[in-house]
Every structure is written in structure tokens, then in C-alpha cells.
Amino acid sequence: MKVLMFGWEFPPQSTGGLGTACYGLTKALSSLGAEITLVLPTTEGTSSEFLKLVGANARVREIKTPMRPYMTSQQYSSRHGRSSLYGQTLFEEVSRYAEAAEQIAREESFDVIHCHDWLTYEAGIRAKKVSSKPLVVHVHATELDRTGGLSVNRHVYDIERKGMHAADAVVAVSNYTKGKITSHYGVSPEKVAVVHNAAERQEQGASYRPEQFGIKSHSKIVLFLGRITLQKGPDYFIYAAKRILELEPDTRFVIAGSGDMEEFIINKAAELGIADKVLFTGFLKGDDVKRVYRMADVYVMPSVSEPFGITALEAINSGTPVIISKNSGVSEVISHCLKVDFWDTNQLSNKIIGVLRYRELAEELQANAESEMGKVSWLNSAQKCLDVYSSLLRKV
């Protein structure tokens, strides 16, 4: 099986779950015998042993916005008087990338086209046009998730919709996301296959010491890790922190990540009078991510809308109990965790305190979730993708 795959980011040049997921999935696909050619906007700083990387050289020279597939939040931008959510250069890059795709598709030999998220859909559609091979679009997130349903970018939504309808099959990272695809994008449910993400098992490794963050060793640590954007619910995290500190003043809150709500969250912490109890690490990569998971007593993912949420699996793999939003794909995969409505700060605080106070709760959560991870593997996900490919090739 030869796959022409279009992606936007790939580790180590990766800023979020999309890159992590592409890596995990392609590695497992390769091990199952698939030959993958992965097209990226640029291959600079990236290499791979298990697949062929092709650069579309789509990066524009003058980069005004950070080249990230993620958007800023309306809430933040309106607060700061910004009008445009996506920089002009991003759209330019997307269209250059799509143009390059046509040429690449003529040169490469492949059986199926597989593209990841809206940035690559146009590329996939063009590759399909010149090759007449079946197209799979993989939905890791929709515009509705990124915006929490507020101020949806029409242009992005239209690209997503066009890609899903042009595709011969749509892969959704969860049933939760499949629901969005069928109800908000008008795609028939039979065309959508659910392939959950996974996370690689990891060896035990080093942890940060709380002292490195100026935290006393007896303090309990609550971790938020993700982009600091509307979608991830950092505001709910900070409101919960305020409540928790009323009962457990020794607790410390670590926010790992960056994003357009960072300033808002920093100001909010000051306004609530808890600035000295909330620590910002900035954007973390690679082993630093694992270190911060291991340092934490509980990982909290209060996302407004989380198509999957690989970070929850990574936290579990690092031996940390997790509390996740009910609006998440990962909650379909892991049952041994605490689930909350992201807006219910009272319950969120209550559950965080529960994990911090009751040793047996944290231990059971951690042990059972870890054993549940045994059935979560990229190989299963890859096999499901192969099944999708085969079903399309049979139709041809």
C-alpha cells in the first residue's frame, strides 16, 4: 500500500497534537507495511527513518504570524482589538502548498491520498484531480472546536466542508468529532470512520523538581498543558485555581504552553490575587513535556471542545492521574479518569481537590488508567486506517 500523505507539521517541528498524531500514525502505518510519502510545507529541521519526506517549499519568506495551524481566540482578539484571526500569510502558504501538491502528485506513485486537517485539504483535492486516486481526509479538529463555535472563520469552514465532501472517506479522531462532521458539515455518517489517536508507551524518566519552579516540595501541583487558547479552557482552570486555593492554600498551579490568551490569564491570576500560586513555563517540547507531567500530582484538561486530546494519554503514560472535559474524544478511550463539564468550575475544583487529598483516589486512577492504556496503541489506529484504504480501493 502506497500512501501520499499531506501533513502540516511533524516532530520535532511540531506545536501541538496534530504533529504528534501524524508521527504516531505514520510510524505505525509504516510498521504495518505501508509506504508513505509525507508532504510538508517544508522539511527543514525534520527527518524520518520510516517514511519519505517531501517538502512543498510552501513557506513564505515574510512570516508575520507564527506558522501554526491553530487560531487565536475571538475572545482574546476582541479584547485586544485585533480583527483578523488568521494572518494573511497562512492562507498564502496554504494555497502555495496546494499548488505544489499537484506537481508532487504527478511525480509520485501511490494508491491512496491521505491528508490531515484543513490546511492540507486543498492539496489533497488537487492531488486527487491529477491522479484519480481515492482521497481520505483526516479530521483532527474542526473550526468549530478551535473557536468553541463562536466567530467561526467562514473561509476555513468552507475549506473544511469542501475537503470532507470531496473526500472518498473521512477519518474522525473520535465519535465526538464524527458528530460534528455529520451535524455541522452535512457529511453522511457512513462515509466517516472513527480512528482514535493513541500515545506511545514511554520509559520511566526524569521529572522536574518542584524547587526548579520555586515550589516547595510539600506543595501539590496541578498542571494545565496545552495551547493557552479559548478552545483549551485555561480560563476555567484559573477560576478553579482560585476556588481550590480557598481550601488548599498550599496548592500550586503550573500552566505549560503558550497562546493568545496567555496575557489574559496572567492578568486574571493577578486580578484574582493568586498570581504567586500560578506558574507559567511557556511552550514545552519533547522531554520537558514528560518532566512536567511527572512533576504534577494531577493533569487537568478543561477543554471547551477537544476533538481528541492526546495530552491526557501522555499524562497517563507519565503516571499522572487525569481530569478531562466531557467534551473530548479521549473520554471515549479512557474510562479510568475523572470527567467534568468544562464550565462547571465548582465540580472541577471539587475533583481536583479530591485527587490531591485522597491518596487512594490518585493511586487507583493512575494504576487503572495505565493498565487501560494497554489497549490503546497506534498500531490499532493504523490498522483501522489501512481498512479504510482497502475499502476504497475495492470500490475502484
Partner: protein
């Protein structure tokens, strides 16, 4: 001669509400009244009332028909308040003299394992409740979830009971049959009645299971299985939750029709009859002594206590609860004692079971929590509130 012994367990707990850390010290209202009342009314409607009506008919129609029940004290309280008509129909059954009531712990608790003193007090409360409501003095004891061992048999014998029920678990019986009366190793006068779990579970669990080769189960087929015991057994003990009829097995499955025809089909064989536990204890000599050192129960395939005490949350919760016993009792606060006892109900620990949580199965039945972890948190928060109440009382 085979005595068929029907025994039904009737119990509904006081489920705990979602009690948060912010409630500690601020609210001593622990129970989910709304849920408890709605479950009770639903079960009364779907099971207790129609099943009682049917049993009364059967008692009238077949003079040889008999049955037995045990009720937790907490379900009786709830029936008195929220489903008096169902309680009335249970009283009518008891009044026929062919329906025997057994004793258990008032709060459907695991007290025997943690406090013999509390256990004895709860059994006495129960005896008193049964006397008051049904005018009977039980001589046969059944412990919560058929939890049993030698020590319990000896304890119950000292309390004056003549017989005791237990699970006919393979690992205690070995090659032996549950269809005889046994004698517990540690007691002389006590008689042990063992549940025939195959035949019991054919009704309680498999009745509506379409993938079961024996589906559909009819009364005459079931009677043939009972008849097969003739010649190699004295009694067939069919022990099950009463909620089997109409709740675990919905009316649509035909469970009531099965029950309606079962007595006649069984009585068709001249050597079959029905008997209550105390009659079996009187009529049959024990065939052997059974040595049950470790605690067994009627739960799950393991037939052990892991559904209630299998994980560290369950163990911590129950340990903390019983640790407060003397202080709660010394406080002289009746409401506090009552709350503390309601927390002992085994269901509270069952809801914390993580064994099959990811598969989502029988443990979900009427479980008011999102997860075992949520159940544990509410429970521990309440324990902390009780501690505050004890402290306040001391001042």
C-alpha cells in the same frame, strides 16, 4: 423428595448525593433523596407490586406453594414512607404463614467484617423491625450479599439462629452438591443452606439472554431440571434478588409468566414440594460438615468480597468509617448515628468498584455516579463532615 426453597432478597440503599469538598462543614444532608425516592417508586411499580400480586395468587391456588424473603431495614423504612401500598402487599404475603421472613443486618452492611458489636446491634434492630411489621421472629439468618464463613455461622448460632444461607460456590463445595443441608465446621446446632447458583442464575441472570442455548426458558423446562435433582439431593435452593422479576428482567421478557407457571410445573412431579428455609433446617439432617475459612459471597464469578473491598479506595473508605464507631456512639447524637449507619450500606462500596468499570456492566445498575472515583470522593467528603460533627458535639 426435593424441597424447592425460594428465597428473595429485597433491598434498596440510601444512595449518597454528589457531596463536594465545599459541602464539608456546611451541609449534613448526605443522601440523594430525589433519586432514592424515584428508584424506590419505580421498583415498587415494576417489581414489588406486580410480583407480590402474583405470589398471592399462587399461594391461593397452590396450598403447597411457599416462599421466603429478607428485607434490609433501610428498604423497609423507604417502603413505609414512599411506597406503603407495596409494604402492605408484603405484609399480606407474610400473613399467609407460608411466606417466611429471614433476618439480616438492618443497614445491609459489611459490619460483621469490621465490628461484631455493630453487627449484633444491627441484627437486633432488624429483628425488631420484622417483628413490628410482619409479626414474625426469624430463625434463619442471611448476611449481606450472602457473605459467609465459619466464624459467622458460629456467631449467628450464639445469637440463636438455627439456619444460615450461603452461596453454593464451587470452590467451597468441590465435588459436593449444594442440594443438601450441611453443618458449618464451627457449630453444632447450626444448619447451612447453599444456593444452587446454576438454577438460580438461570432465572436471575440468563432468563432473557438470547445467546444462551437454553433460551427461551419455560416453566416446564425449568421443572425438568429441578426433577433431575430427585434421587441425588434434598433441596433446591433458589436464591435471588426480588428485583429479578420486572426490574432486572423486564415484564416484556415473560419473567412473570414464567413465575406464574413455575409452581404448577414443579408440583407436577409427585416427589417435589416447596419449603421455607426453617422447614428445610428442621426436616433434613446435614450430610456433611463444611469448612469455610475465607469469606465468600454470592457476587460475580469470584464469589468473594472484591466487589466491595477489592481496591484501595474501598478499603480506605470502610476503614475510616468504622474507625469512627466509638466516637459516633459516644456522641449521643441520634441523627449522627443514623447517618453513620446509612453510610455502612454495602452498595456505597460497590459503587466504588473498579473491576469492570471500563466494560460498563451489571455494576452500573442504579449506580448514581459517573465513576467509582466520584463515588469514593463523595463518600470521603462525607466522612470528613462527620468528623467535624463529632468534634462539634464534643465541645
Amino acid at each position: 423428595m426435593v424441597n424447592v426453597c425460594l428465597y428473595f432478597q429485597v433491598h434498596q440503599p440510601y444512595r449518597i448525593r454528589n457531596y463536594t469538598v465545599f459541602d464539608i462543614g456546611n451541609s449534613s444532608n448526605y443522601f440523594n433523596d430525589e433519586k432514592n425516592v424515584s428508584v424506590l417508586k419505580r421498583v415498587a411499580e415494576k417489581c414489588y407490586l406486580p410480583a407480590n400480586r402474583l405470589l398471592l395468587e399462587l399461594l391461593e391456588k397452590h396450598p403447597e406453594f411457599k416462599a421466603s424473603f429478607s428485607f434490609s431495614g433501610v428498604v423497609l423504612e423507604q417502603l413505609e414512607t414512599h411506597a406503603p401500598e407495596a409494604l402492605q402487599s408484603f405484609k399480606e404475603l407474610a400473613a399467609t404463614k407460608r411466606v417466611e421472613i429471614l433476618d439480616e443486618t438492618y443497614h445491609h452492611s459489611l459490619a460483621f467484617i469490621y465490628s461484631k458489636k455493630e453487627f449484633e446491634e444491627q441484627v437486633k434492630l432488624h429483628t425488631e423491625k420484622v417483628r413490628k411489621l410482619f409479626g414474625q421472629k426469624p430463625t434463619v439468618f442471611r448476611n449481606t450479599e450472602l457473605i459467609y464463613n465459619n466464624e459467622l455461622a458460629a456467631f449467628a448460632e450464639r445469637m440463636g439462629y438455627k439456619g444460615i444461607l450461603a452461596e453454593g460456590a464451587d470452590h467451597i463445595l468441590g465435588w459436593r452438591s449444594p442440594n443438601f443441608v450441611y453443618k458449618p465446621k464451627t457449630s453444632n446446632g447450626m444448619r447451612l443452606l447453599l444456593k444452587n447458583y446454576r438454577l438460580s442464575d438461570d432465572i436471575a441472570f440468563r432468563f432473557s439472554e438470547r445467546s444462551w442455548p437454553e433460551w427461551p426458558l419455560t416453566a416446564d423446562k425449568f421443572a425438568r431440571w429441578v426433577n433431575a435433582v430427585n434421587g441425588n439431593g434434598n433441596c433446591v435452593n433458589l436464591f435471588m434478588d426480588y428485583e429479578t422479576f420486572g426490574e432486572h428482567q423486564w415484564a416484556e421478557t415473560g419473567i412473570f409468566d414464567f413465575l406464574r407457571h413455575m409452581p404448577a410445573e414443579i408440583l407436577r412431579h409427585p416427589d417435589n414440594s416447596f419449603a421455607t428455609p426453617s422447614e428445610i433446617v428442621k426436616e433434613h439432617e446435614p450430610v456433611a460438615e463444611l469448612d469455610v475459612h475465607n469469606l465468600i459471597s454470592w457476587a460475580d464469578v469470584e464469589r468473594d468480597l472484591s466487589a466491595w473491598l477489592g481496591n484501595s479506595m474501598q478499603q480506605a473508605a470502610i476503614r475510616e468509617l468504622y474507625r469512627m464507631e466509638s466516637e459516633v456512639k459516644a456522641s449521643g447524637d441520634k441523627k449522627l448515628l443514623e447517618d453513620w449507619r446509612k453510610l455502612q450500606t454495602s452498595d456505597n462500596f460497590y459503587y466504588m468498584c473498579t473491576k469492570w468499570f471500563s466494560d460498563g456492566d451489571v455494576h452500573k445498575y442504579f449506580n448514581p455516579y459517573d465513576s467509582p472515583y466520584d463515588a469514593f470522593m463523595s463518600f470521603m467528603n462525607i466522612i470528613n463532615d462527620i468528623r467535624i460533627r463529632i468534634k462539634k458535639r464534643k465541645k
